[in-house]
């Protein structure tokens, strides 16, 4: 009985994880589905992956998505670090206000962007998406980086200055390394928000700037083709290997240093 | 009567055995100190009493009641944690009132008791302050108040003074002793600092690195008559000599190779156990008389060369060499101007009474 009670929490947690991964596992399995009908099973095949790599239009939109995601991530990180390091504790009162863009339903933001861009006659394109997604990224980067910086020992900056480093060197060798874990998590959040965003792209993407979610949405209308499943499996594979690579590299770097 | 009794208690973390077959009785109403080097498992013993850990085998009794399987919150035992573990979201009053609220004590009574106990620890002015506004010593007092307000049968103190500075530490020690005297609660005080333990304890136990209890007794017993070299070395400073115990015309004498024979006092039971075998002799540094001139009336005598001196204020520590062996001697600084000042390189005479040397088996 006591044994069972001990297992209760782990069982519950594994149940939750199973639920989280249920659609993803289904997706991966169906990306190997031999049947043209995405709703019935027709044996294993790799042809959707072959088709995926033969479809150039997918890679064009993937390229767009990557450009937007990386630029938005970089901008929100840079601006976040800039404001956090310059205002420091003066930001205490405002930091949580930066959460607003992600608390507001995305659709409202999207509509607002549409108004703004059409009012200012801004040509829609990748750059409008980048600035829009930067707003979302800032929603994470400012409060989280601020919180991280607040945890920093004030003396370490003084110590660095005392040891003869300039302000810039102190920032580069003391502050930035301290912020690194927060930068990684904020960066990946901002990246994912941008890469995954459908609604804002739906309203703000120009003609030559279709992104992956938009492309997928237009394909879903015809019924999800197994190629899209294959694409998802592929992105999952890439992200998994990047994550593994990152953790391995980090361990290696630690060993070397 | 015993407040706490361990019977054949064994505790493992993974495959590592922290405590093996421990038997220990802690007398009720006493200030009991558990002294041992860091990492020896003394905190584990405390956590076993508190109920934070479960024994792997054996039994623990609290007031002669088996509490081995009683959960933490049903044991009438409270702990003062090393890092205080005060609730940051509650103020001083609410922290202290926590246990009473849990018990469902009516509010007026809570107020009364909390104010009373805060007065006892001299915190009546800090009642509604936040925890982060308090100094380390004040936090320590809140943690103490929070525990004693529940009137526990046993109060566990896990190195409570480790984070305080020296003066504050001494002050708190006095207060702790007074508090215990007033409350008559059993205090179990865990520390690695022998001066603290000697100062506060009515009764104390010494643990070695393997988690075994070496000796239990009053501080005086422990200090004056250590049963092992570990105890002798861990509690206070000592000079240890390896040698063999012999009987010689009704007198006992301890032969140390290269130093000579020294007269010792020993009871016959111990004699039979030790005779002819290798044993250890311990002489406390302050029990040795140091002098430049020869003296009379002492049972034992050696000559030594002064290798170094450390001035401690109330005493002077001499580092001496006798036949290649090191001996430490403390001398009280009684006069402003000592007789002939001893300086480095001098040859001096050392004397001690045979009652002041202790023979140990190990």
């Amino acid at each position: 009985m006591r044994f069972l009670r001990r297992l209760r929490l782990p069982l519950f947690v594994s149940g939750v994880y199973a639920l989280l991964y249920l659609p993803i596992v289904v997706l991966i399995i169906f990306s190997f589905n031999g049947s043209t009908d995405s709703h019935t099973w027709g044996g294993w095949t790799l042809r959707w992956f072959a088709e995926l790599f033969r479809t150039p239009e997918i890679w064009v939109v993937v390229k767009h998505s990557l450009i937007v995601a990386f630029s938005a991530m970089a901008l929100s990180l840079v601006f976040g670090v800039m404001i956090v390091c310059s205002l420091k504790e003066r930001l205490d009162r405002f930091a949580s206000l930066f959460y607003i863009p992600i608390l507001v339903p995305e659709i409202i933001l999207a509509v607002g962007f549409l108004y703004l861009f059409s009012f200012l006659k801004v040509p829609l394109g990748l750059q409008t998406l980048i600035v829009a997604h930067t707003l979302l990224g800032l929603a994470f980067s400012v409060p989280l980086l601020h919180a991280r910086l607040a945890e920093m020992n004030a003396y370490s900056v003084e110590a660095s200055l005392d040891l003869g480093a300039t302000k810039w060197q102190t920032f580069l060798y003391v502050v930035l390394p301290f912020l690194r874990p927060a930068l990684v998590s904020v960066g990946s959040l901002a990246w994912i928000l941008s890469f995954d965003d459908f609604l804002i792209a739906f309203f703000c993407a120009g003609s030559s700037s279709q992104t992956l979610p938009l492309y997928i949405y237009s394909r879903v209308h015809v019924g999800v083709t197994p190629v899209i499943n294959a694409l998802s499996t592929f992105t999952l594979l890439v992200s998994c290997s990047l994550v593994i690579l990152y953790s391995v590299l980090r361990v290696r770097l630690k060993e070397i240093i | 009567m015993d407040a706490i009794r361990f019977e054949h208690v064994t505790k493992r973390y993974g495959t590592e055995e922290i405590i093996t077959d421990l038997n220990l009785a802690i007398p009720a109403g006493k200030f009991f100190a558990l002294l041992g080097p860091s990492g020896c498992g003394k905190t584990t013993i405390l956590r076993l009493i508190g109920g934070f850990e479960h024994v792997d085998s054996g039994k623990i009794f609290l007031d002669n009641v088996d509490v081995t399987d009683v959960p933490i919150n049903q044991r009438r035992v409270n702990t003062v944690f090393q890092y205080y573990a005060l609730f940051p979201h509650l103020n001083v009053f609410d922290n202290v009132a926590y246990g009473l609220r849990i018990k469902g004590v009516p509010l007026p009574e809570i107020k009364h008791k909390v104010i009373q106990v805060l007065a006892k620890v001299h915190l009546e002015k800090q009642v509604s302050k936040k925890i982060e506004q308090l100094s380390g010593g004040q936090q320590q007092r809140v943690a103490l108040a929070r525990a004693i307000v529940n009137e526990p049968k046993v109060l566990l103190l896990d190195e409570p003074l480790a984070a305080l500075d020296r003066n504050l530490k001494e002050q708190m020690l006095v207060e702790l002793i007074e508090l215990q005297y007033e409350l008559k609660t059993t205090f179990v005080y865990v520390t690695h600092d022998q001066t603290e333990a000697l100062a506060v304890a009515d009764q104390m136990a010494i643990m070695n690195d393997d988690g075994e209890i070496e000796q239990v007794g009053t501080p005086k017993e422990i200090y004056e008559f250590p049963v092992s070299s570990f105890v002798a070395q861990f509690v206070g400073k000592t000079n240890l000599f390896k040698g063999v115990l012999r009987e010689h015309c009704g007198d006992f004498c301890f032969c140390v190779e290269g130093l000579g024979d020294f007269g010792v006092v020993i009871d016959s039971a111990k004699m039979t156990a030790c005779e002819g075998k290798e044993a250890l002799l311990s002489i406390r540094p302050e029990k040795i008389e140091i002098n430049k001139e020869e003296q009379l009336g002492f049972a034992n005598h050696v000559c030594a060369r002064v290798d170094g001196m450390i001035y401690h204020g109330r005493s002077t520590e001499y580092l001496l060499i006798v036949n290649g062996r090191r001996i430490t001697v403390f001398e009280q600084n009684e006069e402003h101007f000592a007789r002939d000042a001893i300086v480095e390189g001098d040859t001096v005479h050392l004397y001690w009474q045979k009652e002041n040397a202790v023979v140990m088996e190990r």
Binding site: L9, P10, F12, V13, V16, L19, L20, L22, P23, I24, L27, F30, I83, C85, S86, L87, L97, F98, I102, L103, V104, P105, E106, I107, I108, L109, V111, G112, F113, L116, F119, L135, L138, V142, S188, I192, D196, I216, Y217, V220, I228, N229, S232, T235, C240, V243 | F52, P71, I72, N73, N78, T79, A85, F87, H89, L90, D94, G99, I102, N150
Partner: protein
């Protein structure tokens, strides 16, 4: 020139802090002002509250209330499930901790649309779930799950759950477990310890997660659109339809404003509730 440079360096703080604020002003505040002014401006008629009059009728309010109930339900379920999971990851998972946190973020890498669409394969008439139940003999007729509110609710719960677990976990991580021992030591039961120590000290994470999930599920467009079969409208779909299909900006803006006001009101109420829970727990 050198003087300018010096004066500039002296103003470096302003220089560095400006972009983030600029973004918030230009892309958040100004668009909100646009939406608000559009809601009271009718083409050809100038200032008018006619749009609000139309929106405050039964059908629209019904949609807002339904979205609200669904969002609350989702956020609440997520909160209830997230607490034990975050607790497990933070305090019990030991060496599995990093892996479990990583596993929480991996689903984000699958496109949201595809993620939602995968539920088609699970919930549809001859989908996986029905097939399993039929094979086990629990049911004799396939259950009708797809295109119902149930489907919307479960998918929302599933896709937003990580957004709740992660912030709650972050605050658990900062939580000092010795406080739990202290509380138990002072005679509190597990339940009392949970409510009096753990909950008040991790409340900020729960709040953040709750508001995050509430906001996202309230305005969600994709999930209701795909999972409800278009039979029931939710705030996200209606706002989008007003702008894209009806092209009625004043109506759409009015609807947006009212939903935003309702959402903010709800958030204020739940903030009060959170405070009450923290206080009552004391």
């Amino acid at each position: 020139m050198r003087r300018i440079k010096q004066a500039f360096l002296y103003r470096l703080t302003y220089f560095l802090a400006t972009p983030a604020f600029l973004w918030e002003i230009v892309f958040l505040c100004i668009p909100f002002l646009f939406i608000m002014s559009a809601s009271v401006y009718l083409q050809g008629r100038g200032f008018s509250l006619a749009a609000y009059k139309l929106i405050l009728t039964g059908a629209h309010m019904r949609i807002i209330v339904r979205s609200l109930v669904l969002a609350l339900f989702t956020a609440f379920c997520c909160l209830v499930v997230a607490y034990p999971v975050a607790y497990f990851i933070a305090f019990r998972a030991r060496s599995w901790k990093n892996a479990l946190v990583l596993l929480l973020t991996l689903p984000f890498w699958v496109n949201f649309l595809v993620h939602v669409y995968a539920w088609f394969f699970i919930l549809e008439r001859n989908g996986i779930f029905n097939k399993i139940l039929l094979a086990l003999g629990i049911i004799s007729e396939p259950l009708h799950m797809m295109n119902t509110l149930f489907a919307v609710a479960i998918v929302m719960f599933q896709v937003y759950l990580p957004f709740m677990i992660l912030p709650v976990y972050l605050f658990f991580e900062k939580f000092d477990t010795r406080l739990l021992e202290a509380s138990l030591d002072l005679g509190a039961s597990w339940r009392q310890t949970f409510w009096r120590v753990l909950v008040p000290l991790t409340m900020a994470g729960a709040q953040l997660g709750f508001f995050l999930v509430l906001g996202m599920s309230f305005g969600d467009y994709v999930t209701p659109q795909l999972m409800s079969g278009g039979k029931t409208l939710f705030v996200g779909t209606v706002i989008s339809d007003y702008f894209i299909i009806n092209r009625s900006f004043s109506l759409g803006s009015a609807f947006t404003c009212i939903s935003a006001v309702v959402l903010i009101g709800l958030m204020a109420i739940s903030l009060g509730l959170f405070k009450l829970v923290a206080k009552g727990a004391k």
